[in-house]
């Protein structure tokens, strides 16, 4: 219920960040937890709306008003339970989710006033880890059914956890050397330290999930014997930049750079790419781009420039386009730019040049919206030693999908009906199914897919269901 009328007296407090000058000196997380009193004051601002748009805005359907209230009442353990009911990994979303819930908060009608939902979420789950409230929830009974989950990103993890808790034998395949997908190899440590992923993975293992890392699944035979298969392989084919000079050295996909940074930090591999002392240009104005910018700062790049094809969005929520409670198409300045660097909107890259290695980038300004008409006389050339392409992802990688022969939708993603693919016993979840999206959607996908697998298996056990008819067992 919060405190009556508290929203009038207490202002919103956003995430507390370490000062840029300090944080770029290390790789530790830059968001600091809010002190308890402040959190509870923020919890008090929640008004327990009759129609909680936050809860509707959250893809997971997190019971936000309910745990806000529990925090306000200092009942963190119950809050943690409430939170985990809908979200397997609140510590991931509490760090990485852009918080559509806050955009939809009723207080956000008065723009900039939303309850600090994400901070509360993070505080609940961190407190729960600290207090030891998060323990493995091993299934009481085993079902004797087995499921292979391919891909250990957040969708795969969530799906595996749900299935394991339901008593199924779950094998989680990961082609990289460690589980976590983009969580581990995409997102930098200063946004999520890897111990955060590791402790959760440990929980999964204790719940019975068997991890097989470093295994590239590309042959259906590898999946023979499982009762069901879940494809959670992500959407990892990056969008390329077809301009002259693309082939030059020093032009890389953002993910290659970020994965290298992550491995380097973890000490598991020598970095192949480095931004140190270079003029870095990041093409693409999204979160991946920002992570590149921030990583480059920490490598002490000579300069960092981030360019974006689209024009600069308005500073305030444009109510004619994206009125509350929709996600507002407005200007957001990333944490990375707060740390330094330059940003330009409405830039069309026209070419890259250099002698073997990239040295310059050439661009023109455009009108900011499709068809991106060129602004006359706006050609520009900048020095560029490292060009990182962070323009999003096109769809899932295909070898396994082709091998399994599952149908795909118009965008190349796996086509499904309630997560079931065209091939009986094969399911899909996460970006592989839905296309590139938010981590919060990935978790939701994993949960829903697990439920679909469960229903299918239950039908099989019933004897006359879909699984039973299909022979009950995925045949590789």
């Amino acid at each position: 219920m919060g405190e009556l009328g508290a929203f009038k007296k207490i202002a919103r407090v956003g995430p507390r960040e370490r000062p840029p000058a300090e944080r770029i000196l290390d790789h530790r997380e830059f968001v600091r937890p809010l002190p308890l009193v402040e959190l509870q004051a923020q919890g008090a601002r929640c008004m327990e709306c009759g129609v909680p748009f936050c809860h509707s805005g959250c893809p997971l359907g997190n019971l936000i008003p309910d745990w806000n209230d529990l925090v306000y009442r200092d009942r963190f353990e119950a809050a943690s339970e409430q939170l985990h009911r809908t979200n397997n990994f609140p510590e991931f979303t509490g760090r990485l989710c852009p918080a559509p819930c806050e955009a939809a908060c009723v207080l956000e009608i008065d723009e900039g006033s939303a309850v600090s939902i994400k901070q509360i979420e993070l505080a609940i789950v961190e407190r729960a880890w600290k207090e030891g409230w998060i323990a493995p929830q091993a299934a009481a009974e085993r079902t004797g059914r087995s499921v292979a989950v391919v891909g250990s990103g957040p969708a795969g993890l969530a799906c595996a956890q749900q299935l394991a808790r339901a008593g199924h034998e779950v094998v989680l395949f990961e082609r990289d050397e460690e589980p976590g997908g983009l969580l581990r190899f995409g997102v930098p440590d200063f946004k999520i330290e890897k111990r955060v992923v590791e402790r959760r993975v440990a929980q999964l293992e204790e719940e019975g999930v068997e991890l097989r890392c470093g295994v590239e699944v590309d042959d259906p035979e590898q999946l023979a014997g499982f009762d069901a298969v879940v494809l959670a392989t992500g959407s990892r084919v990056p969008r390329d930049l077809p301009v002259p000079g693309r082939e030059l050295d020093g032009v890389h996909f953002a993910m290659d750079y970020l994965a290298g940074r992550n491995r380097a930090l973890a000490g598991t591999a020598e970095p192949r790419l480095s931004a140190a002392g270079k003029h870095v240009v990041v093409i693409g104005g999204g979160d991946t781009g920002a992570d590149c910018v921030a990583s480059a700062h920490r490598e002490e790049a000579a300069s960092v420039t981030q360019i974006e094809l689209l024009g600069e969005p308005p500073a305030r929520r444009p109510d004619d386009l994206t009125p509350w409670p929709l996600w507002p198409a407005k200007l957001r300045t990333s944490y990375a730019l707060a740390e330094g660097g330059e940003r330009s909107f409405a830039i069309s890259t026209t070419g890259l040049s250099g002698e073997g290695r990239v040295e310059r980038i050439h661009w023109v300004r455009n009108e900011g919206a499709p068809p991106f008409a060129v602004v006359p006389d706006s050609e520009e050339t900048r020095p560029a030693d490292l060009v990182l392409l962070a323009m999003g992802f096109l769809g899932p990688e295909l070898p396994l999908l082709d091998a399994l022969g599952v149908e795909r939708d118009g965008r190349g993603n796996v086509a499904t009906r309630d997560h079931a693919t065209s091939r009986p016993g094969v399911f899909a979840a996460g970006d592989a199914r839905r296309g590139q999206s938010l981590i919060v959607w990935a978790i939701e996908e994993g949960r829903r897919c697990a439920a679909a697998v469960e229903a299918w298996l239950a039908d099989a056990d019933g004897g006359d269901g879909a699984a039973a008819r299909s022979g009950a067992r995925f045949a590789g």
């Binding site: 009556l4 009038k8 709306c49 009759g50 129609v51 009942r75 009911r85 929709l326």
Partner: protein, 1500 residues
């Protein structure tokens, strides 16, 4: 008589004749010396003629609802006709018989009666044709006129007269039972004779020629004029009955009738002996509430109790918390409550057995009755003063009926026997008080019992088993335990009906609380706590016809909600009288859902066994519920055992106590009690409260004990509120009264276990209920992650929870649509909303349109601009919503040509002349801001009888919300809290409503008059009564609606969907041929054009919207309206939050146009060009078979879609007959023309009679329409009247008018007084002491805002109720004086009744308290008592001086003569709130139209 040919009186569709209500005018005339004369009859008939306006007629104006007269047997008449064949007086009786019209049938019935007379040892003397004029009754009445004959029966030799009367009763019952509906016997007695029929009052003596016959002589006569909501032909239902005539309603009838039936097996009477079996059942089927009352009263009297004694048993006065009653009388009542529960209701009952005649009022005193005694030995009592004009000098004294008091004229003692004397005689006949004290056991006197073993099953599992959710903890129980108050919510209910919910709600949710509207008033359980009682008792009841000490052996329970230790005391009672038996109400989980039915049979059988073993407390317990056993829904267990035992005739051998984990809200406990539980132990709720304490949900320091005590107290309070909604005051008469309607339960289930409850759309049966219970059980099996209960989303939307029609999708798309004007976005909204309705559960969603093969082109359909004129916005007061929001709606509706509604908070007069004027001015029970000027500035005046969110309840605007502006438009004081009473204090019955409609017509003859009702079973019948009362418009609100704050149990559980209420109304109006003359509107969560078209097809001419236009103007369904924290500036008065209001009139305009366009598209497809041609076309609707999920649940919509034959029209096509033609005011207006036109002073003198109602109303309308609120200068129009003024004398009297009445006046004097001056004094030469006699009736100055009034004599109950500005002087008042007063000054120069100043939050009263008894009669909740200070003293003196000058008061003269001394004897009654407000001078003028509260200069 035969009813067979008349199909109209049979149930069909949603109409059922058993919903009929009636109310009436009554009068009695008696000669104290006991000499019979025809003059008595003549006078009684004259009185009856003058009560005609209280009766009614239907569509056929000549067919009255009924009139009749009860007389002593006119011996001269019969002797004249039968001569020597007639035995001496007293040894013969006359049966008045209604026989079949057909001669063969008639002969058969007559032969049958003759045979029974002989068989019972008496002798048939002769049949007599009663001379009648068949041309008199109207066509409707004539078509079913019975053959009316009288049978003279001679007593067996040697039989004494009382024994003869008993034989006559036996003969009558036998004949009635054998002949069935072919025979009605209005009277069969050796003492009295009844003439009655379906006639208007003036028709009675023209029809019965005997009544003009001089030989028809009597020393007493009782007459009655009936007003029925319906006019289905019935000669039988006219009054008087054999012993009584009744004005009012018995609210508890169903329970009373059930209990009576249950009692029959135990009846035994030495006087009757074996004959008693012949008369059973006591209550004749198919009668009215009065008939049933008469049946039982008759039995009690014939079995040996005196008539007053029997009446005191059945209609006891409030005695529970009375220390002013003698102990023996309180003992009498307490003892008799062990025998019979009160027949509760607003009732004035006039009675006579031929030897005494009198009348009594129920405990609330909600019907009027005025009497006088003359010097020459006559006593006259009637519903109104003035029905029999009498020379002033001949009147010795005058009085009124008082709550709970008996008025009795004893012809053998030749005098009026005072109430105290009479009751003392009855109460001391036997040592009742002693018996009660000695035999009754109080629960707290029982020894402490061992606590039971703590249950093995964990709390959480058991909570899940009973369907607990987090909301139960957070929303229901925590607030209850923290504050002891039932939690409040807002914005109505947009969740599915229980039967359509996917959530499988608990059985309680299928039951909707019934509530009083129009035909009886709800009660204010807080301010009028003096009449309320939650005391319950268990034990076995004994033979009603005997009286012994053993009858009092009952176990008394102070509060029907039992704590654990109290239940154990009961369970382990070791007493020579009491013994308990616990019946396990669970069944083995292994049996699954199918186990429910056998389990019910088992518990019924076990209850029989328990009774056979001598148990008199049956505890139905589901404590055994756990992983192995599923609990029977506690309501089902209770009702099944209750009705089973009623059927077996053994119900009274034991009380039923429910020990269940299921109940945890006011509603659940109310339903359990309503279906027969005497007490409930909600053990799991109590345990859960302990958990809440442990978890820190409650304020720091709260102990488990405190939490439980508060919750129990809070539920008891809520229980009182639930009862009081229906006008019921005591738990004992609520128990088993079954005052609920079931929505969504199968007929066979209801018939078997909830016998007599209405259930009109079918629904789920035992099988489904069993499955639901089994499913809950399955969910309760412990597993991982069960530490927290589920969140079910009942009170606030949750993605996986209960469906809400207002959800993120519908709200945001609607807002985007109206803000951008995007028709496409609206279509997305409408699609979602319409689809939601279908998928998620309201009745309109289950309907589909029957589109013809070809529609019509869209451009031929009436334009949207025409359709939107049929729309109005809901009644939301300024105060409940912000000024910005209120004015936005008004502007939008004015732009559209639709109508906005003021709500009950008045309106700033500056808005009357611009685009912010609300076309509809609401008149609600609080009458805030309702002045002559306000009423004159309306196109429609809407009388709010109930509101969807909380029908039957009042409201409260806390002082902190009453800022300067709101206070000014409400004409009250800033900072002073305002209370809206549950009832309109001028509407306790249908004839009162008729009067208010008349009053409002006078206040604004051009406005149409609307009455707002809420859908519940029988609303159609009430609507028919409303149509007969002359309203132009009736609004049927669905239960779902409601934008303001209300208790959660009311939001969810009172009233039914508008679809049912509207269809019932349409069907009933058509069957009564009343539909053609009244507009019908509906509202309740209407959202789309589809909704509008469905409503039209079901019978609505117009539609109202409240939530949707609010959402269009920015509401996001926070549901925080009651908290003043609305973040979008709508439901708040906080200036900061109001700044956030972003709504624009065009948003609302866009919404309504979108809706109308959607409706047009549907009209085109339906092939209907004009909207009016849609209205009532039920044939274009059908149940949507394509939708799944509802047929399987047993739902049957055929009654909803029933289309009766329409005699004239299915929509409004003609005006009501004119009502104001003969108003006295036309003469006043004529005489006042110079004043009205030229402001020249005029003086007028006229005679007045009780039929002249609302004197001054039309004149005031003329004044304010010409001269505005300010009116004319003081004393411009001076009117002197002589006689008895009719009701509502001086209503809304405008400034500049002074009415001086020499005579007396009836109820509602100075209603809404708006600045005029009233003075009432006895006529010159009166033969009585003015200050000891009644000069004005009840409810004087109700809602007065300005002006002054002076009364030289006593007034009745509720003097100056809700006065907010008038100054008045009176010489004595009845109960509840100055109730809910918020401003003004009242001076009482004499006695006051009880409960003075209840709910009085403002204004000042000065009470002359020379005998120092006032403090005990004053309700101290809100006021303090003070001495009169110097400044006050001067104001007081000047008022008293004006009183003396205007009325010639001797009392005032005496006081003024020794003022210094006199002023010491006054007590000043000062509301705490008011004092604070004055001290802080919180007055700030916020608006251009600021009203000052009464600032009249000191008077001479």
């Amino acid at each position: 008589m035969s009813r067979a040919p008349d199909n109209r009186s049979r149930p069909a569709g949603l109409y059922d004749p058993s919903y009929e209500h009636d109310a009436c005018g009554i009068a009695l005339v008696a000669r104290l010396d006991g000499t019979a004369s025809h003059e008595t009859v003549r006078r009684a008939l004259q009185a009856l003629g003058n009560l005609e306006h209280r009766g009614a007629s239907g569509a056929d104006a000549d067919s009255g609802d009924g009139a009749g007269i009860l007389l002593q047997i006119p011996d001269a008449l019969f002797r004249g006709e039968l001569a020597e064949r007639l035995p001496p007086p007293g040894s013969y009786a006359v049966a008045s018989c209604f026989l079949p019209a057909g001669s063969a049938e008639r002969a058969r019935v007559e032969a049958l009666i003759g045979r029974i007379v002989v068989a019972e040892g008496q002798r048939v003397v002769a049949w007599r044709d009663v001379p009648t004029d068949a041309a008199v009754p109207g066509p409707g009445a004539a078509s079913v006129m019975p053959c009316i004959r009288q049978l003279v029966v001679a007593a067996a030799p040697g039989l004494d007269q009382d024994a003869f009367e008993r034989k006559l009763y036996v003969i009558r019952r036998l004949a009635e039972k054998e002949a069935g509906r072919d025979l009605v016997v209005p009277s069969l007695s050796s003492r009295t004779l009844v003439y009655k029929g379906m006639l208007t009052a003036p028709q009675l003596d023209r029809f019965y020629l005997d009544l003009a016959d001089e030989r028809v002589a009597s020393a007493l006569a009782l007459v009655h004029s009936r007003y029925s909501t319906n006019t289905f032909p019935s000669w039988e239902l006219a009054h008087p009955y054999r012993l009584v005539a009744h004005n009012g309603e018995i609210n508890t009838l169903r329970g009373n009738a059930n209990w009576m039936r249950a009692r029959e097996s135990q009846l035994a009477s030495e006087l009757f002996g074996d004959d008693l079996r012949k008369v059973l059942p006591v209550i004749r089927a198919g009668g009215s509430d009065t008939a049933a009352f008469d049946n039982v009263l008759e039995l009690l009297v014939l079995a040996g109790r005196s008539l007053p004694h029997a009446l005191m048993m059945m209609v006891p006065e409030a005695y529970e918390s009375r220390d002013d009653l003698p102990a023996e009388l309180r003992g009498f009542y307490a003892y008799h409550r062990c025998l019979i529960e009160p027949w509760d209701g607003p009732a004035a009952i006039a009675f006579s057995d031929g030897r005494v005649i009198g009348a009594t009022l129920d405990r609330n005193g909600l019907r009027p009755g005025r009497w006088y005694e003359t010097a020459d030995g006559w006593v006259v009592l009637a519903s109104e003063a003035g029905v029999l004009p009498e020379k002033p000098g001949n009147i010795v004294r005058k009085g009124r009926l008082q709550p709970g008091k008996l008025f009795l004229v004893d012809l053998e003692r030749h005098r009026i026997v005072p109430d105290e004397e009479l009751k003392r005689e009855v109460a001391t006949r036997r040592p009742y008080a002693g018996w009660f004290a000695a035999e009754t056991v109080r629960l707290d006197e029982l020894p402490e019992a061992e606590r039971p073993e703590p249950p093995e099953t964990p709390l959480r599992t058991r909570q899940l088993l009973f369907g607990y959710a987090q909301e139960d903890m957070k929303v229901i129980l925590a607030p209850l335990a923290a504050s002891g108050e039932e939690p409040v919510g807002s914005m109505g209910n947009d969740t599915p009906l229980a039967v359509l919910s996917g959530r499988k709600p608990l059985l309680y949710s299928y039951f909707k609380q019934l509530f009083a509207q129009v035909t009886n008033p709800p009660i204010d359980p807080i301010r009028e706590a003096i009449v309320m009682s939650v005391q319950a008792s268990v034990g076995s009841e004994r033979n009603l016809l005997a009286e012994t000490p053993a009858h009092a052996r009952q176990l008394l329970i102070e509060n029907p909600i039992l704590r654990g230790r109290e239940l154990e005391q009961l369970r382990h009672v070791r007493h020579d009288v009491f013994s308990s038996w616990t019946v396990d109400t669970t069944w083995p989980a292994a049996e699954g859902g199918a186990g429910l039915e056998p389990a019910l049979e088992r518990i019924q059988a076990e209850a029989d066994l328990a009774l056979a073993a001598g148990a008199n407390i049956i505890i139905l317990s589901d404590r055994a519920a756990g992983l192995d056993r599923i609990p029977i829904p506690s309501l089902l267990a209770t009702a099944a055992v209750h009705n089973h035992l009623v059927r077996r005739g053994t119900r009274l051998q034991a009380g039923i106590v429910v020990e269940s984990g299921e109940p945890r809200s006011v509603h659940s406990i109310a339903v359990l009690i309503g279906y027969g539980a005497a007490a409930v132990n909600p053990y799991l709720m109590l345990e859960t409260l302990a958990e809440l304490v442990e978890l820190g949900w409650l304020p720091d320091g709260t102990t488990v004990e405190q939490a439980q005590a508060r919750a129990v107290r809070g539920i008891a309070k809520g229980l009182l509120k639930t009862m009081s909604k229906m006008g019921i005051s005591t738990v004992s008469s609520y128990t088993g009264a079954q005052i609920f309607e079931a929505v969504g339960l199968a007929p066979e289930l209801v018939e078997r276990h909830f016998t007599g409850t209405a259930s009109r759309i079918g629904g789920v049966g035992l099988r489904e209920l069993g499955e639901h219970a089994a499913a809950r059980h399955a969910r309760a099996v412990p597993g991982a992650g069960d530490e927290l209960l589920p969140v079910v989303g009942l009170f606030a939307w949750r993605r996986e929870g209960e469906a809400h029609m207002w959800n993120p999708e519908t709200i945001s798309t609607l807002q985007h649509a109206v803000r951008t004007g995007s028709a496409e976005t609206y279509e997305r909204y409408a699609e979602t909303a319409n689809e939601d309705a279908a998928r998620r559960g309201n009745l309109r969603g289950l309907l589909r349109f029957r589109f013809p093969d070809e529609g019509v082109p869209l451009d031929e359909v009436e334009p949207a601009a025409e359709i939107v004129r049929r729309f109005s916005t809901g009644a939301m007061s300024l105060g409940s919503i912000s000024r910005e929001a209120h004015e936005t709606l008004a502007r939008a509706m004015n732009r559209l040509g639709g109508k906005s509604n003021t709500g009950e908070g008045g309106e700033d007069p500056v808005r009357f002349d611009d685009d912010r004027r609300s076309a509809i001015k609401q008149v609600a029970s609080g009458r805030f801001g309702v002045s002559a000027h306000y009423l004159a500035n309306a196109d429609e005046l809407q009388i709010k009888m109930a509101q969807g969110a909380k029908p039957g309840e009042g409201g409260q605007l806390p002082g902190h919300k009453v800022d300067g502006y709101i206070a000014s438009v409400r004409m009250t004081t800033p900072g002073v809290g305002l209370i809206s009473p549950p009832p309109h204090h001028d509407i306790y019955s249908i004839e009162d409503l008729k009067q208010l409609i008349y009053d409002l017509r006078c206040a604004n003859p051009r406005a149409r008059i609307s009455v707002k009702l809420v859908a519940e079973v029988g609303v159609g019948t009430v609507a028919a009564g409303v149509a007969k009362a002359g309203a132009d418009h009736v609004l049927i609100s669905g239960h779902e609606g409601g934008t303001g704050a209300a208790p959660l149990s009311s939001i969810l559980h009172a009233g039914v969907p508008w679809e049912i209420g509207l269809a019932e109304t349409q069907q009933t109006l058509i069957r009564n041929d009343l539909r053609s003359r009244i507009w019908v509107q509906t509202d309740g969560q209407l959202k789309t054009g589809r909704d509008v078209v469905v409503a039209a097809l079901l019978g609505a001419d117009e539609m109202g919207f409240a939530t949707a236009p609010l959402v269009a103007s920015g509401c996001v369904m926070m549901r925080a309206c009651h908290l003043n924290t609305c973040p979008v500036g709508i439901a708040t008065q906080d200036p900061e939050l109001r700044k956030r209001f972003a709504g624009q009139p065009e948003h609302v305009v866009n919404f309504f146009f979108f809706v109308a366009e959607e409706a047009r598209r549907l009209m085109a497809k339906l092939g209907v060009r004009r909207f009016e041609d849609l209205v009532g076309r039920v044939d274009l609707l059908d149940a949507d078979e394509a939708l799944t999920g509802w047929r399987e649940r047993g739902i049957d919509l055929s009654a909803l879609l029933h289309r009766p034959e329409a005699p004239r029209a299915t929509r409004r096509v003609e005006a009501q007959p004119p009502a104001l033609g003969d108003a006295l005011d036309w003469r006043l207006i004529e005489a006042a023309r110079p004043a009205l036109e030229e402001r020249e002073p005029v003086e007028v003198e006229l005679e007045v009679a009780n039929v002249d109602r609302t004197v001054g109303g039309l004149l005031s309308h003329e004044v304010v329409t010409r001269h505005g609120a300010i009116g004319l200068p003081r004393g411009t129009i001076r009117v002197t009247l002589r006689g008895s003024a009719g009701q509502s004398f001086g209503a809304w009297l405008a400034p500049g008018i002074e009415l001086t009445l020499l005579g007396d006046a009836n109820d509602y004097v100075g209603k809404g007084l708006s600045g005029g001056v009233l003075a009432i004094r006895p006529p010159d030469g009166a033969g009585f002491v003015a200050e000891e006699n009644v000069i004005a009736g009840n409810t004087v100055l109700y809602g007065a805002t300005r002006g002054r009034a002076f009364f030289r004599g006593l007034a009745g109950e509720r003097f100056a109720v809700r006065n907010s500005g008038a100054h008045a002087v009176v010489e004595g008042v009845g109960d509840h004086g100055c109730e809910y007063m918020t401003g003004g000054v009242v001076v009482v120069l004499g006695p006051t009744g009880r409960n003075f100043a209840a709910g009085m939050s403002g204004g000042v009263a000065y009470v002359l308290d020379e005998e120092l008894g006032f403090a005990a009669r004053c309700n101290p909740q809100l006021v303090g008592l003070e001495h009169v200070g110097a400044e006050d003293g001067e104001a007081l003196r000047s008022l008293v001086a004006e009183h003396a000058r205007r009325t010639g008061s001797a009392v005032a003269a005496r006081l003024l003569a020794e003022w210094e001394d006199a002023v010491q004897h006054f007590v000043k009654v000062m509301p705490h709130d008011y004092r604070r407000a004055l001290e802080t001078a919180a007055v700030s003028t916020g608006g251009e139209g600021f009203y000052t509260t009464e600032t009249e200069e000191a008077v001479a």
